[in-house]
């Protein structure tokens, strides 16, 4: 059903266009709205009445008028025509090629909203991905099919970190990347420099021909930002679950997405919830983040690495807060570490990988990996406490144990968190064991005697006694 309606518009209000109901369209059907200015805008049917319909225009409505507005009904919800040839291509925020190449010869069209994955059809993600970053591999391991965002702030090196992870990520022991890997990059309201940085880095890494880029630049329509991740994830799902590839989807910056959500919600006159964001933001973000995982009996996987910048570095702000409740953990970057020249400035304490427990240990990485990571966490948390104590009473006022923790904390940040090149998991673990030898044995409560004897050296045995 492709029907064109002209002259039926009765009212324009914010992003909403009201029409007399002259065609039998269904709820959610896609439309193309062409104004007298000749521009075509995407939209969808948002409400239907016996004799009127409401169209939500998904791009800017400025320039539209009642007379001369032509609405073309597509007859089905917004969809994206896909084929393996999307790799190596650059699209705008609504899936149209902008690299000067020919249109994609679609094998099949997929609705961009997707469908929830049946939990029964999911396979538990267990394949440990070595990223070369110690604070991830050793402390917050990433597994295939996980959704793990970077919580960052303006001016922090999240782009560089994301590029490094994308460039190095591979299964353990694999010398090179899996042939079946692919990257889907969605720039949501990002500045041109940022988009260009990603494009150039992927090109230098030789990954560009395996990447589909979706770019909604900061200068593009903000309403369109709501569609960009949906087009990108539809492409990612297609590559993973139809073409059987191991897809890494990088979405940046989700804060811009949430801001656009707030903007559109308020222009629709909806009741705002926390900080003016709509009450359904949790469900809405979930429809994006949940589009990741592994399916039973399916070769491909979809791993999500999104970046969001915490407004005012506040992890309690609704955007990072709701995201943290949906994603399988978070990697938090710290301005303090960045200022001290630690790269990558990952603050491990608030960072977490929920699926780590399923992908590490004897069967997957190393039998002592879980205990080592837990011990490093416990020790670093104590070191941070000692630091607070020292800032008030001075280092001299601390007991011997606390002083050792203080030294541990500094060494932890300088040698384990900070790194210049990629490390193997074994190198990361060796660094961890070496750091623990600086602590009294009675403090190593997360390690068994056998683990201490095997790795943390006997030198400190019984220290304090």
């Amino acid at each position: 059903m492709r029907l064109t309606v002209e002259g039926a518009a009765t009212r324009l209000e914010g992003p909403l266009l009201f029409l007399r109901r002259t065609v039998d369209a269904g709820l959610g059907d896609a439309v193309e709205v062409r104004g007298a200015d000749g521009r075509t805008r995407l939209g969808r049917v948002a409400a239907l009445d016996a004799d009127a319909m409401t169209i939500e225009v998904l791009e800017s409505t400025s320039g539209l008028s009642l007379a001369g507005t032509v609405v073309r009904f597509i007859g089905e919800p917004l969809s994206f025509g896909l084929a393996p040839s999307i790799l190596g291509r650059v699209f705008n925020g609504v899936g149209q090629p902008i690299d000067g190449g020919p249109p994609v010869a679609a094998r099949e069209r997929y609705p961009i909203d997707g469908l929830p994955i049946n939990p029964v059809a999911r396979a538990s993600p267990r394949d440990f991905i070595e990223t070369g970053i110690t604070t991830l591999d050793l402390m917050n391991s990433l597994v295939r099919g996980q959704k793990l965002p970077l919580f960052s702030g303006g001016g922090l090196p999240h782009d560089r970190l994301a590029v490094e992870i994308a460039g190095h990520a591979r299964l353990r022991g694999a010398a090179a990347r899996d042939e079946a890997f692919a990257i889907v990059f969605a720039g949501i309201g990002v500045p041109w420099e940022s988009a260009e940085y990603f494009r150039r880095s992927l090109e230098q890494g030789g990954a560009l021909e395996r990447t589909a880029l979706f770019l909604n630049l900061a200068s593009d329509s903000s309403t369109q930002r709501l569609l960009t991740p949906r087009y990108a994830l539809t492409a990612a799902e297609y590559l993973a679950f139809v073409e059987g590839r191991h897809v890494l989807a990088i979405l940046t910056d989700m804060t811009n997405y949430a801001e656009a959500l707030r903007e559109v919600s308020s222009s629709k006159g909806e009741v705002p919830s926390r900080k003016g964001f709509p009450g359904y933001m949790y469900s809405d973000l979930a429809t994006l983040f949940e589009r990741a995982g592994c399916l039973r009996g399916m070769g491909g996987t979809l791993t999500q690495l999104s970046i969001l910048t915490m407004p005012a570095d506040d992890i309690g702000h609704p955007i990072p807060d709701l995201t943290g409740y949906i994603t399988e953990g978070q990697i938090v970057l710290s301005r303090d570490l960045d200022r001290r020249g630690v790269y990558p400035p990952v603050n491990v304490l608030p960072s977490l990988s929920r699926l780590m427990k399923d992908g590490i240990g004897a069967k997957y990485t190393h039998a002592d990996h879980p205990a080592l990571s837990a011990q490093l966490y416990a020790a670093y948390a104590r070191a941070v406490q000692a630091r607070v104590l020292a800032s008030v009473v001075g280092e001299e006022g601390l007991g011997d144990t606390d002083r050792r923790y203080l030294a541990f904390g500094t060494a932890f940040e300088r040698t384990l968190v900070s790194q210049t090149g990629a490390r193997t998991l074994e190198e990361s673990m060796d660094l961890g064991w070496a750091l623990l030898t600086g602590l009294p044995r009675t403090e190593l409560t997360r390690l068994s005697d056998a683990q201490i004897a095997a790795h943390a050296g006997g030198g400190e045995a019984g220290s304090g006694g």
Binding site: L27, L48, R122, A381, V392, G465
Partner: protein
């Protein structure tokens, strides 16, 4: 069946012109795909319907058909061991890996049926008709609906019987006859009737030390677990589902992650029930409405879950319901309320949030079911407060209705100290009442030790604050000892790894033994300090490390090793006393 036709539609809410009578809260089917909805408002010949699924493609004129009954779910022997969506439709066995709108009810399965009634028997409402057994599930009682009773005219003989086949025919009081099957349907929003409620003096044994020993929840009680993201709510609820001593677990994933549900499905069939040794899945029903499934069904899922729990309770079983998370349910309530244009209250939630929470938790109870015996439903609800702030509406309302409150602490979680239950912010109302139960379990000192541990942890918090000003070494020796003992209680007793094969479940016997050895340590240490020993010398005792690690090293079957540990400890303290002065701090 009454019919109506859509006049207006937006999102999951539609208005339709009715051509027959509809009742409030009546379930309806919409469109050719027969999507499930519920009548929420009636105005003249117009009805307002909330649809539980994605309404894309609907248009004015689409048919709405009434079912003549409120939103109900089928309850029968086919529930155990399976996973359902929020409206109790099976998720397993679907052809597609994705959830499409318009899912169907479960296909009836066949069970081996043994009748317990005979022709001519008086069958009161809620009576046991017989027992059903099937592959991979425990034997279950089949019940008459709680609102139907009469005289048995015919009874199916022992043998294979489908869930929907006639198990017996009753002549009702009004002379009509009614056929009953192994399964019956019950409206989700109506609590199932019982003979009477009973008060509870028994705790639910969860296998988690910090809960059972410090903040126990009663069998048939209600507990809340609030915590910001990453504090371990889900891991804790899963640990309880694996380790607690309930007969049946109803696990509700309400607006949570799909991978977590997949994890439960992956893990549970391979685990065994600590009490019966049977596969854990045999006692479990999972209800999943993941965060990207339709939000209106999330609102209903919590009622589906508690109705299923009540159904097993009515068979005389102990049921534990884990709801993860009630905040997502409250948000669904808020979202749906917003679509109806209701006036928002605190935090944008509807004004009836508090009474809905109260209604839900009030369905937790120990009861005498209609068929006699005792059954219970214990409700444990997770709360996800925005930015971890416990003063928000869902947490503060819930606090008024639950007896046990297990507050998760972000600091503990960040140090990977799990379960991250904060001993000072948590509480268990009326815990003293379980002292006789603990005495029967062999720990007559429970009340005193619990009190001692809690005071110690409270003092620790105060001293930590003071140490931050004057330094730890400047504290008097007695207070330094308090810090030492408190840190031992934290490390040795409160911390319990859900991933440790030995420590993921801790029997009451082992909990009691650990509590006593730690109590004795505190006693000896205080005595030693009183007679001039410096706390640093106590911190250097060789027994400290085995004490700190006894949870992970000494399993449930070897509680005797704790006594050996205690003997070592007594010896070391004795030799400490004989060493002159004994107070030389090493390393200084």
């Amino acid at each position: 069946m009454s019919r109506a036709s859509i006049r207006w539609i937006s999102g999951p809410v539609l208005r339709a012109t009715a051509s027959g009578p509809f009742a409030m809260r009546e379930a309806v089917h919409v469109g050719d795909a027969r999507l499930l909805g519920e009548v929420v408002r009636i105005d003249g010949d117009e009805i307002v319907v909330q649809v539980y699924e994605d309404t894309t493609g609907f248009r004015p004129g689409t048919a709405v058909v009434g079912t003549g009954a409120p939103l109900s779910i089928p309850l029968g022997p086919g529930l155990l061991g399976n996973i359902f969506d929020g409206l109790l439709r099976p998720l397993a066995g679907a052809a597609s890996a994705f959830v499409h709108p318009g899912m169907r009810r479960a296909e009836p399965r066949a069970f081996a049926f043994v009748p317990r009634i005979a022709v001519g028997d008086v069958v009161p409402p809620g009576a046991i008709l017989g027992e059903a057994t099937g592959e991979g599930i425990r034997p279950q009682a089949c019940l008459a609906p709680p609102d139907v009773g009469g005289v048995a005219l015919s009874v199916a003989p022992a043998g294979e019987l489908r869930e929907d086949a006639t198990a017996c025919t009753l002549r009702l009081a009004d002379g009509s006859t009614r056929e009953l099957s192994l399964a019956h349907s019950w409206p989700v929003r109506v609590p199932r009737p019982v003979a009477r409620r009973v008060s509870s003096l028994t705790p639910l044994v969860t296998g988690q030390r910090v809960i059972d020993s410090l903040f126990p929840v009663a069998l048939g009680g209600k507990a809340a677990v609030p915590g910001g993201f990453g504090t371990g709510k889900t891991v804790l609820l899963e640990a309880l589902a694996k380790g607690c001593n309930a007969d049946v677990i109803v696990y509700l994933g309400c607006g949570e992650r799909g991978n977590e549900m997949a994890g439960v499905l992956d893990e549970f069939p391979g685990l065994t029930d600590p009490r019966t040794g049977r596969p854990l899945m045999e006692r479990t029903v999972i209800i999943a409405n993941t965060s990207n499934m339709p939000v209106a069904a999330r609102e209903a899922s919590i009622y589906s879950a508690i109705t299923v729990a009540e159904y097993f309770r009515d068979q005389g079983l102990g049921v534990a319901l884990m709801a993860d998370s009630t905040s997502r349910w409250a948000e669904a309530l808020r979202e749906v309320s917003g679509r109806f244009g209701e006036l928002p209250g605190e935090g944008g939630y509807p004004a009836y949030l508090s009474s809905r929470i109260a209604d839900f938790y009030e369905r937790a109870a120990v009861v005498e079911p209609l068929c006699g015996g005792t059954g219970s439903v214990t409700v444990i609800g997770a709360i996800s407060p925005p930015s971890g702030d416990f003063s928000e509406p869902v947490t503060s309302h819930t606090k008024r209705y639950v007896k046990a409150f297990w507050a998760l602490d972000v600091k503990r979680a960040q140090a990977r100290f799990y379960p991250a239950i904060h001993p000072l912010q948590s509480y268990a109302e009326g815990a003293e009442a379980f002292a006789p139960w603990w005495t029967a379990e062999g720990n007559s000192e429970w009340t005193a030790l619990r009190r001692r541990f809690l005071t110690l942890l409270d003092e620790e918090a105060r001293l930590e604050r003071m140490a931050r000003i004057i330094g730890k070494d400047a504290l008097p020796v007695r207070q330094q000892l308090t810090l030492l003992c408190a840190s031992l209680v934290n490390e040795a007793f409160l911390r319990q790894s859900a991933l440790s094969e030995i420590d993921r479940v801790c029997t009451p016997a082992r909990q009691g033994a650990m509590m006593r050895v730690l109590g004795r340590f505190i006693e000896l240490a205080e005595r030693a300090v009183a007679s001039g020993t410096h706390p640093d010398a106590i911190a250097a005792l060789a027994c400290l490390r085995p004490l700190q690690r006894m949870g992970e090293e000494i399993g449930d079957g070897e509680v005797g090793r704790i006594a050996a540990l205690q003997a070592d400890m007594e010896r070391e303290f004795a030799s400490l006393a004989t060493r002159e002065g004994g107070g030389d701090a090493p390393d200084r």
